[in-house]
Amino acid sequence: MRALPLDAQAVASLDRTVHEPARLAVVACLAVVDEADFVFLQSQTGMTGGNLSSHVKKLEKAGFLTIRKEFVGAKPCTTLALTEAGRDAFKSYLTALRTLLRVMDGAGL
């Protein structure tokens, strides 16, 4: 069976902001809920607070998520949600990934 040519366009279209594994975990987690707090993301991704903070800030800078800070009683609470742009970016990322996987399946790998 002849391998299909690698779809370079599909690879190139993978969004680098979303593609990074830690950020991908954050986006995938937020994609299935309306919003979640910082603790929830830590518990679901297994990342430390500092590590998660840096990735969350990069996603916020890219316009993919919103950060809402408030106090619940005396305790600080940080709530995060994907923006429409973030959801669209994740959908596009998945589409590009599926395309790439189809090509690789065709190559018999």
Binding site: A31, V33, D37, V39, S43, G46, P76
Partner: protein
């Protein structure tokens, strides 16, 4: 990774939803509730068992806020999931009330001697069997397969109680102890696995 294991075939939304319920609190509260109802039944004050669910609601809320949320966090599920969760809670409350009402009706009927011998023989099994039915319903509504195990245990305890002609309170007590113990073990694992985390962005 600190995440608890889940079937890889389930959707991410299902996995997140299940993780939200795997602290063992639901098992512990349901089990202690059954133990309480079983004890009130044995003390011939089964009617007072009806107030236990009402007492459990604020305790459950406080438990989630003080024990679970600092470790697992707070999440607002997507609209379809919120709707199904709300429906599940209402269905469960209705099923619980129906179970209690049917159990009490069966118990009073058997005491007044208006029922057949066959019915009286099954009365000890009735409350536990109904609780088992509620457990089955909960397993389906909340997507927690382990609740099926408790449901089966309750039904078996009920049948054993009927065979041994025990008071229904004993079967509820036995089912409650099994459920509460399992919940306590899950809670212990949850507390070890999930430390309290800061909710502040660095």
């Amino acid at each position: 990774m600190q995440t608890m294991s889940a079937a890889p075939t389930s959707s991410p939304a299902d996995r997140v939803y299940r993780a939200w319920w795997q602290d063992g609190g639901i098992d512990l509260f349901a089990g202690l509730g059954l133990v309480g109802i079983g004890i009130t039944w044995l003390l011939d004050a089964a009617v007072f068992g009806a107030v236990l669910p009402a007492l459990a609601v604020p305790l459950w809320k406080a438990y989630r806020e003080r024990v679970v949320e600092p470790r697992l966090g707070r999440v607002r599920f997507a609209e379809p999931r919120r709707r199904s969760l709300h429906r599940a809670q209402l269905t469960l409350i209705a099923a619980g009330v129906a179970c209690l009402a049917i159990s009490l009706a069966g118990w009073f009927a058997s005491r007044e001697g208006t029922t057949s011998d066959a019915w009286r023989a099954l009365v000890p099994a009735l409350p536990a069997a109904l609780v088992g039915l509620a457990g089955l319903l909960s397993a389906l509504l909340f997507g927690q397969p382990r609740l099926l195990g408790y449901a089966l245990a309750c039904v078996l305890f009920g049948l054993a109680g009927a065979a041994l002609d025990l008071e229904p309170g004993w079967t509820l007590l036995a089912g409650g102890i099994v459920t509460a113990l399992s919940g306590a073990l899950l809670l212990r694992r949850f507390l070890r696995t999930f430390p309290v985390l800061s909710n502040e962005l660095d």
